[in-house]
Amino acid sequence: MRKNPLLILLSIVFLALLLSGCASAAEEPTPAPPPEPTEVPVVEPVAEPTEAPAEEPMEEPTAVPTEEPVVEPTAAPTEEPEPMLRTDNLEGETIHLYHFGDLSGPYAAITGPLVFGMQDAVNALNASGGIRGAMLDVQFADTAGSVDEAVAAYDRFTSEDDNVLAMITYGSGEAEALASRFVEDQIVNLTAGFSAEAFYGPGSGYTFGLGPIYPDQLGYFLDWLVANWDEAKPASAGDEINLAYLSWPGAFGQGALTTESRAYAESLGVNIVAEEIYDLSPSADTTTALLNAQAAGANVIWTNTLAFGPAALMNGIGALGLQGQFVLAGDNWAMDLATYAFVSDPSLAVGLITPFPYLWWNDADNPGIQAAQELFDANERPAGAHNVGYLLLLAGVDLLRQSIEVAIDTVGFDALSGQALYDALTTMGPIQALDGVIRVDYSDGSRSPHNVQLRQIQGGPDAFNVLQDWTDMPDLRPAGE
């Protein structure tokens, strides 16, 4: 009896080794055309040096290349146009898209409208004939803001569909955690979580942003602030710019403070005098954070939060009678109508400055905004969804439509893959989605936009007025890229 467990164990270990041998050989991906070397900074796990065919016997050892992997000179798939390339009349075909986000956890306030935007945009697109006649089919999973749920959703989606083109993610945490998987499985990730790590961290490369990364946003704001300090500074402030970083814990809340953005602030002569964290909850008490910031001599506050995040600070400032003592600024999400649901007095929101990588509902002369407004009204969405998330996803779906069309033109519908979509996105050059509601250009090696506006709340809701029109941002991508 005693010996038996050991025996079982040994045989199982042996079996495991044997099986792992089989498993890998069987799963060897078919050699894909190597991606253009200039565009892909990371080591592509699939860009196999050996042309090992999949039907090789399982235990056959694979050959090791003696020289460096051959870099094939831009083996663009277009070089051999097949006669049967299907690029049009795709009626009856379906293109699957997958998105997941936090609809029941702390970020639900912002994810809700994003998902509404996605649904409405896809429905509208399908109603108008889809992409060359192919219908879009969208599947959603609720991650409740937790990374392991996101991984589970990712596994579920990839096991249901061998050829996932793109997934849309909404959270910094999940975008970061899944970044390397997107690369390995060659799935384009269009994300609304702009953490630098997700775009440019080790092993990333298939993550594309609908907005600029948070360190860039902080740097962009500081550029403006330094240039305009005399006009913008609070009455009580001196010449020193003292920044307090008051934000949520977590990948998103802490996303703007990186080595690069700290160094950039220092180079501009901006002191970061306080870093305080407050709860990710509408009832967060920010008074201690604010009092400590004040005691540290801060005259500028940056908050990397959204919806009730800035509201908690505004309420705290109101409650402590500190109005006019700080320049309040934040990431692009911080300036949103959702904030007004949580701020006790709308006048407290006046003065907030944020980078603004898209147009706003009050730019009513823009046809994209008009279309968005019509769509919003037609779907009778709740007033709370009339915000940045809805708008951004309408534009995001338009961006996907454009890039998928380019990919179809290049490789044909039947060869459409995440890789093809990646190639399309990185070669299209400047893209204006939804008539310029967002403007991106992924062809310069970056995967997040670099040209934004700066806006300020000047008056009641929706008075998000332009402080500085579309200008280039500082490039604060993490080193190593």
């Binding site: 029941s104 509408p282 009832s283 008074t287 109101g318 649901a341």
Partner: protein
Amino acid sequence: MNWQLLPQFAITGILNGGPVALIALGIVLIFKSSEIFNFAHGQMLLIGTMSTWWFAAEEGMGLPLWLAVICAMGVSVLLGLLIERVTLRPMTGQPLLSIILMTLALGQVLQGLTILTFGTTQRNFPVFFSITDPYKLSLPFQYNGNPIVVILRQNLVWTFVIAIICVVVLWLFFQFTHTGLSMRATAEDHETAQSVGIRINRVFGISWAIAGLIATIGGILIATASGLDLSLSIVALIAFPAVLLGGLESIPGAVIGGLLIGLVQGLVALPTNDFFLGPAVAQAIRNSTEIVPYIILLIVLVIRPDGLFGQKRIERI
């Protein structure tokens, strides 16, 4: 250290402890009568507060606020009675583990029900007091030549006052009403209470009902601060250490425990970057509001497991 802000942080902390004390009181109440430590308290509180919102909100019933509060109290009383009757009565005489797990399971069920009925979106809870116009309290002493002015949010002060009024009312209830007295008798000894004609099942039910009621009041008080969402139930997790700090069975202990926890949570904000252990430590201490209750709890457990006012009948081993 930010000595200038010491009075500010101390007073804010104590005031913040008011609702915590009220919630801790509910936990003690249930424990005293039935020896059940209610891990579902946070979720009971959440349901009560959510239903207040629903009764009051335009999207819901649109009742006037006072009526909404009364209706929500009715809901929470019924909920308390229902929980006691359906889930905990069958557990009488079961081992501790089963009872603890039962309340944990209840918490999960209530959490699920709350999400199912009310969704997950944050609610804008009605604000009773002006947020922009704080009370300013000038203290009669100075620090470094600066006058010390304590700025207090209106809702903070009134929340505290209401919480303390509730505590006093409960105390009167236990001291002077027949039901209150029979509950105290039951808490002393089930068999003796039964032998003098007290129906202890009824007493259990009443204590759950009252606990639900005051949990709801506590929840409403906290939600008025600036909003309501699912994370509200976390307050109960701060109330647990307060309960143990005060002593599991002591009503004044729960109140003082709650206030003390609030005070310490306020005081951890004191260290600044010139802190003698360095800015990193100061930063860590400032961010420790969520764990100081538990650090206090560990200290209490090691030094004085029966709390400040608890009965010394813990079985030592």
